[in-house]
Symmetry: none
Subunit: 245 residues, 2 copies
DNA sequence: TCGATTTTGTTGCATGTTGTTACATAACTT
DNA sequence: AAGTTATGTAACAACATGCAACAAAATCGA
């Protein structure tokens, strides 16, 4: 992608100006907007790659706007808010935002998030970025994302089922971060929609993790890579190195 | 992340003490510091997950410190100040702080901000996460924080349960400091939420300490490492050396 | 298309973990 | 010394997880 076009939506002119300037200094084409009407005008008039949407928009409600925009467009949206409470986060997510960031934020962090969301949007659907060849290495193992092949430390090829591969990809994308069963299930279902309500997920993830362990752990009974986080979920506990050719 | 290590930087000893206590009660390993020099010493000496930095540091200027720290480290920083004017906020933000909170603050709000910043920092590191191999040694024992393995003085591996591991980590982060049952319980609960009012904690901690003793004390009946502080709680009475590779 | 094969989810049971309770013992107070 | 309080710990119950065996679903090959 050449230059990303980013719509900055905030009703405070100072904030709008500052963020616009900042984004322009960092190589984006930033377009200011202060209301839903302006946003729709921009969306109708040309390409928009990303929307930075403030939650508090004077009399308008950013969350509602986000929801409405999502009904008609699938442009990526990052919600910006001064409130960092967790339920707020959740509300932002349920509303269809791709990410959520609290004000005031670290500029580099914002850039990182923007890049992440943009590159995610460009990917077809898989979690794994498909360039020419991308190889993930961990604990002597390697996973070639292009060929979809897993090689053991002894350079023996191991065949994973589709679901097992998806699980491995999920963990490779989130090393050292404990993932709940719900998060894992959501990540595996291409829809990305988490199963709603309580413990509806069942034990499928547990069994799947067990199966992956039996294939990539030297001693499946004492896992070194795919560790259990009791009461939480599972963690990929190995460092991941990415060869991006 | 097991227990967040938070550096409390304030030149007022009372404030420092109060905040340190508060954070410890809520499950963090809080380390007090009163000057930039001390901060740098701590940053050089071990893992620090977050810095709570007061803007007014006597003759030193918190904003400058923040800026300088950010040039060399990417540790998350939350600025604390008695001035809540907006331009101050912005200054803090431009300086590279991840968040900004005005004194006097609501304790729960501070906790919420800390959690938000920590989880953001964890998520954003994703693919390039680099965890140093950190090994703690005490009385011939060693605990490898990365592999989560405990080795006895005779180099025999000892398996601790999840809760026992968390307890050991709590003590390793606070050697020679007597911890109350409430502090320990709070530290163990991943939520970081302190137990409600009074003595609601029950005897769970006692039993847990007993179990850990049975595994890492040569003579569990006469503990040399995990000593009881009658009427108070428990102390980790051994010196801890950290190999930070 | 049909049956064979592979993959995936479900269930039940074994095992391990954790908090509670009850009681014994130790430590303090008077 | 006797009473009081705090702590140690065994036994138990509740719960989470691992996993084998089975069932359902998807995929494949003719």
């Amino acid at each position: 992608m050449a230059i990303p076009r980013i719509l900055v939506v905030d009703d405070d002119p100072d904030v709008r100006e500052m963020m616009t300037q900042f984004l322009r200094r960092n190589g984006a084409a930033a377009l200011p907007a202060s209301s839903e009407a302006e946003v729709r005008k921009q969306l109708g008039g040309g390409r928009v790659d990303l929307i930075l949407l403030d939650v508090m928009l004077g009399d308008e409600n950013g969350l509602d706007i986000c929801r409405r925009l999502r009904n008609a467009h699938d442009v990526p949206i990052i919600m910006v808010s001064a409130l960092s409470a967790d339920h707020q986060r959740m509300t932002g997510y349920e509303v269809g935002a791709d990410d959520y960031i609290a004000k005031p934020f670290n500029p580099d962090l914002l850039l990182a998030r923007i890049k992440a969301v943009l590159s995610r949007a460009r990917r077809s659907s898989s979690l794994v970025h498909r360039r020419k060849t991308q190889t993930f290495r961990f604990e002597g193992w390697s996973y070639d994302a292009k060929r979809d092949e897993v090689m053991s430390p002894a350079q023996v090829q191991v065949t994973l089922s589709r679901r097992e591969t998806a699980l491995l990809q999920t963990f490779l994308a989130n090393p050292h971060i404990p993932l709940t069963r719900e998060e894992i299930a959501a990540s595996l279902d291409a829809t990305g929609v988490a199963a709603q309500g309580g413990d509806a997920v069942g034990r499928a993830v547990d069994v799947l993790v067990g199966r992956l362990r039996s294939k990539i752990e030297t001693h499946p009974k004492e896992p070194q890579i795919l560790k259990t986080e009791r009461g939480v979920g599972y963690v990929f506990a190995a460092d991941v190195h990415v060869d991006d050719i």
